[in-house]
């Protein structure tokens, strides 16, 4: 055999062997326990956000919609969960053309002149032109942060959806007066979803000058709505990551894609003196465990303890289920939360699974159209600290 042939045989063997070697190593090592030695231990930034004495959350409304079948039927009819929320033809942006054929421009043109001073008229028009307007509710809560010196500061998280429903809820909890009296410092919008954000004019009606914090990732329609809703105050677009607000309170923006063409969610952290970390969320699309893990990595908090959670935990918002949600129910134990106030998009089924698993769920009173006592419902309060 010539040298050339021998070299060619060697080359063929070497190439074949390389393939086998790569595949063999991939199979043998990639999921072995030994691989974990390569993972760097998470470095903790331990950012000091200060501490506060307590935070009280008043649930203004957690019922974003009143009938799941109706809402999910609309989603199905319009083409599924990826369809742009402004095209569903839901109130207040209905244009009278039917499900899945709406647009922000058409919808706002019909009501803009009434925002925010005549919401009754605006909603009446929206009702006439929208799909299932009476199914709209909304999500919003009041946060009262007590500083270490006893000073109390108030913030709103989200402004709900239906003008009519949210106005009723604001009046029920006295939010209208607080806004009129400028007692509430700022409105944090968790994300651009209809049920958290489209009720913005209700807040504007009582205090158009309020400072608004929105997360990075809003679409152009969402940003335009702030202007169209009559806002005259300061608008702050919070960049992805941690943003300190006041001692013991910080927001965190997660750059995550969300159904109905929404991007990015802002959630809140509180560091309660001698208690630990409290997480308050709108929908928590990033996942409560991701939220807790991010806090662990980024923030220094009391006793290194996850003390409490409040809000929608976005597990089964439409009472749907998936085995990955069971992963959450099984895994949440590791984080040692001491008080859990869940509602909204958590899913009643999930709240019940939490209770069955022995987690410290603070049950509610099921008033004002909240569905079940497993939820911390409308008008209920929870205090951490």
């Amino acid at each position: 055999m010539s040298e050339k042939l021998k070299r060619r045989d060697f080359l063929k063997g070497a190439i074949t062997g390389t393939g086998i070697g790569v595949l063999g190593a991939m199979g043998a090592y990639s999921y072995s326990g030994a691989r974990k030695a390569l993972f760097s231990k998470a470095e903790r930034n331990m950012t000091d956000i200060g501490t506060c004495k307590s935070v009280k959350v008043t649930n203004i409304s957690e019922t974003s919609w009143f009938d799941n079948q109706t809402l999910v039927g609309d989603i199905k009819g319009a083409g599924g969960l990826l369809v742009d929320q402004y095209s569903y033809n839901w109130a207040p942006f209905g244009n009278g053309t039917g499900l899945g054929k709406g647009s922000y421009a058409d919808g706002i043109a019909m009501i803009k002149q009434y925002l925010p001073h005549d919401l009754d008229k605006a909603w009446e028009i929206a009702q006439a032109n929208s799909v299932n307007p009476d199914n709209a509710g909304g999500y919003s809560c009041l946060l009262e942060v007590e500083e270490l010196d006893g000073n109390k500061r108030k913030f709103l998280l989200d402004s709900g959806w239906s003008y009519k429903w949210m106005d009723e809820c604001f009046k029920r909890e006295g939010i209208d007066k607080m806004l009129e009296n400028r007692e509430i410092e700022a409105l944090f919008i968790s994300h651009e979803h209809f049920d958290h954000y489209w009720g913005l004019p209700v807040t504007m009606k009582y205090d158009p000058t309020i400072t608004i914090y929105i997360p990075e990732g809003f679409y152009p329609e969402g940003k335009q709505y702030i202007k169209d809703a009559g806002h005259t105050g300061k608008l702050i677009e919070v960049k992805n990551g941690l943003c300190k607000q006041i001692p013991g309170m910080a927001s965190y923006v997660f750059p995550i894609p969300i159904i109905c063409r929404v991007y990015g969610e802002q959630s809140l952290y509180f560091n309660i003196k001698d208690k630990g970390l409290v997480s308050v969320t709108g929908c928590c699309h990033q996942g409560i465990i991701r939220f807790a893990e991010t806090a662990y990595k980024e923030i220094k908090y009391e006793n290194d303890q996850c003390h409490g959670i409040y809000g929608g935990l976005h597990i089964s918002p439409f009472d749907d289920w998936d085995p990955k949600y069971d992963d959450l129910v099984i895994s949440l134990e590791r984080y040692g939360f001491e008080r859990i106030g869940c509602n909204h998009c958590t899913g009643v089924l999930c709240a019940k699974k939490f209770i069955s698993a022995g987690y410290p769920v603070i049950e509610g009173t099921a008033r004002f159209r909240s569905k079940d006592k497993a939820y911390l419902g409308n008008g209920d309060t929870i205090t951490f600290g």
């Binding site: 060619r8 045989d9 060697f10 080359l11 063929k12 063997g13 070497a14 190439i15 074949t16 062997g17 390389t18 393939g19 086998i20 070697g21 790569v22 595949l23 063999g24 190593a25 991939m26 199979g27 090592y29 990639s30 999921y31 691989r35 993972f39 998470a42 799941n68 999910v72 199905k76 319009a78 083409g79 599924g80 969960l81 990826l82 369809v83 742009d84 095209s87 997660f254 995550i256 969300i258 159904i259 991007y263 990033q286 996942g287 465990i289 991701r290 893990e293 976005h314 439409f318 009472d319 749907d320 289920w321 085995p323 990955k324 992963d327 099984i330 895994s331 949440l332 590791r334 089924l349």
Partner: protein
């Protein structure tokens, strides 16, 4: 005896109408246009039918792929006569065969799964049965049902072609059509059912509250190993199997399994070799995510949850299949001038690079034109749908339409067919187990392991440099 489409694909000569890369580029442009038009009509959330819910669109997409595999690989185009295949205009053939594939698809999904199985066996195959359950909305009833049906499809899309590619149609390889087709269909469907019951059925069994302990193993047996109770763990390796089957069939030319002379040994080695390669891919692509994004955290959502990471393994694998099929269908499986190992290695490297480029381009831009969401891990973001949709169009174009209009189909003469067989034999005979070859294998093994080590070392840094989109 009528041969129908037996060996039709090997015995057709596709003659380029223009020289150089023009036919490939024309075909790419044409198929991408058809892709986008049909995407808008059927799948796009902004389009006409909006089937990308996502599971309904995904279900039809997966099963359409299998329908074409059944028609071409398992049934050899039966009942269409060879004469018709060779003389009908590609547009006529494409239209007729595509419509038939869709008709069988609808009969299977609506008739067999939803109508028969869903009404008389397993309720979760039928949305109407699910809607009878308390609290289940019609949307999720349809989604759950579609999920179950498409999970079956995932398995069938591996096993159906595997029986032809790996098992070489044995033991029915000498049987005429349609008896051979029905035999293979029966065995692959049977095997798919078994695999479904031990992989996907336990996933469906815990989809409801309370867990269905009496009908499925709950929590599923893979929980500790996979760090999740989700069936996505199986979707991952099964998807890899599907991809590897086609790599073996196209750019790898069944190498190195074709070196085995003993028929049954070769068949089993190929069948199980595909699974082993798929498992290697399955574990490595999971590991690659750990290296770039960090360890998964059980219970969380999106890019950090183990269940999504397993799903993403399958998604990454499919990005590899797209360039492989393009190379095979439109580039005449370039290159062919070297020895088989060198050809195979060159194609593999080309496809790997193309897959990485496609992956980056997809996640950077697809949300701008597909109506999907920006980001890696949106629960409704399924890159497998557009990629398989494109593959389906390529299969219809390549199998049903002979790459028309950039190529013209001319039946090979008996002499050409014989020459092809001789060339194929010669390529195999060219690989000799000489001492140098064996030494080469030894050296190659070391190089392969070293390459793996370097890849593992370099991946985190490379990912940081590329930074496709924010990592949450």
């Amino acid at each position: 005896m009528e041969r129908f489409g037996e060996h039709y694909l090997e015995e057709r000569k596709l003659v380029k109408r223009w020289s150089g890369p023009i036919p490939a580029l024309v075909s790419l442009l044409l198929t991408l246009t058809v892709f986008y038009a049909t995407w808008w009509i059927f799948q796009d959330p902004r389009g006409l039918m909006r089937m990308y819910t996502p599971y309904i669109g995904y279900m039809y997409c997966r099963w359409w792929l299998i329908m074409m595999i059944w028609m071409v690989y398992i049934f050899d185009f039966w009942p269409f006569k060879r004469k018709w295949l060779e003389t009908a205009h590609p547009l006529v053939k494409g239209t007729v065969l595509t419509l038939i594939s869709v008709a069988i698809l609808l009969a299977l999904v609506k008739g067999f799964f939803e109508g028969f199985l869903g009404n008389y066996g397993l309720a979760y195959f039928n949305p109407e049965q699910l809607e009878k359950l308390d609290g289940i909305t019609s949307f999720f009833a349809a989604e759950y049902s579609a999920l179950a049906i498409l999970m079956f499809a995932a398995i069938a899309s591996w096993l159906s072609p595997a029986w032809v590619v790996a098992m070489e149609n044995a033991p029915w390889n000498k049987m005429p059509q349609p008896a051979r087709g029905f035999s293979i269909l029966t065995i692959t469907f049977f095997l798919s059912t078994i695999v479904y019951f031990v992989t996907m059925h336990p996933h469906m069994g815990i989809l409801y509250h309370p867990w269905q302990y009496f009908t499925s193993i709950a929590p599923p047996y893979w929980e500790k190993f996979a760090d999740t109770v989700s069936g996505n763990f199986h979707v991952s390796w099964i998807m890899c199997c599907t991809v590897v089957v086609w790599l073996v069939e196209t750019i790898w030319e069944r190498y190195p399994f074709n070196l085995i002379k003993n028929n049954w040994l070769r068949r089993f080695a190929t069948f199980f070799g595909i699974i082993l390669i798929a498992l290697a891919m399955h574990f490595f692509l999971y590991f690659a995510q750990e290296l770039t994004w960090g360890e998964a955290i059980r219970g969380t959502r999106r890019a950090f949850s183990p269940d999504w990471r397993w799903l993403h393994v399958g998604e990454m694998a499919i990005f590899f299949l797209v360039p492989a099929l393009f190379l095979a269908f439109y580039c005449d499986n370039w290159p062919k001038k070297f020895s088989m190992p060198v050809n195979v290695a060159t194609r593999t490297i080309v496809c790997l690079v193309a897959a990485v480029v496609l992956y980056i381009a997809y996640y950077k831009t697809s949300h701008l034109f597909l109506g999907t969401q920006k980001g890696f891990s949106h629960p409704q973001q399924f890159p497998m749908i557009p990629t398989i949709w494109l593959i389906n169009i390529w299969l219809a174009h390549h199998w049903f339409m002979d790459n028309w209009p950039a190529w013209k189909m001319v039946p090979k003469t008996a002499h050409e067919i014989e020459a092809d067989h001789n060339a194929a034999r010669a390529r195999i005979d060219d690989i000799r187990f000489t001492p140098k070859f064996v030494t080469g294998i030894g050296a190659g093994l070391a190089i392969g392991v070293l390459f793996y080590v370097v890849t593992v070392w370099a991946l985190p840094g490379l990912y940081e440099i590329i930074d496709i989109i924010p990592k949450n």
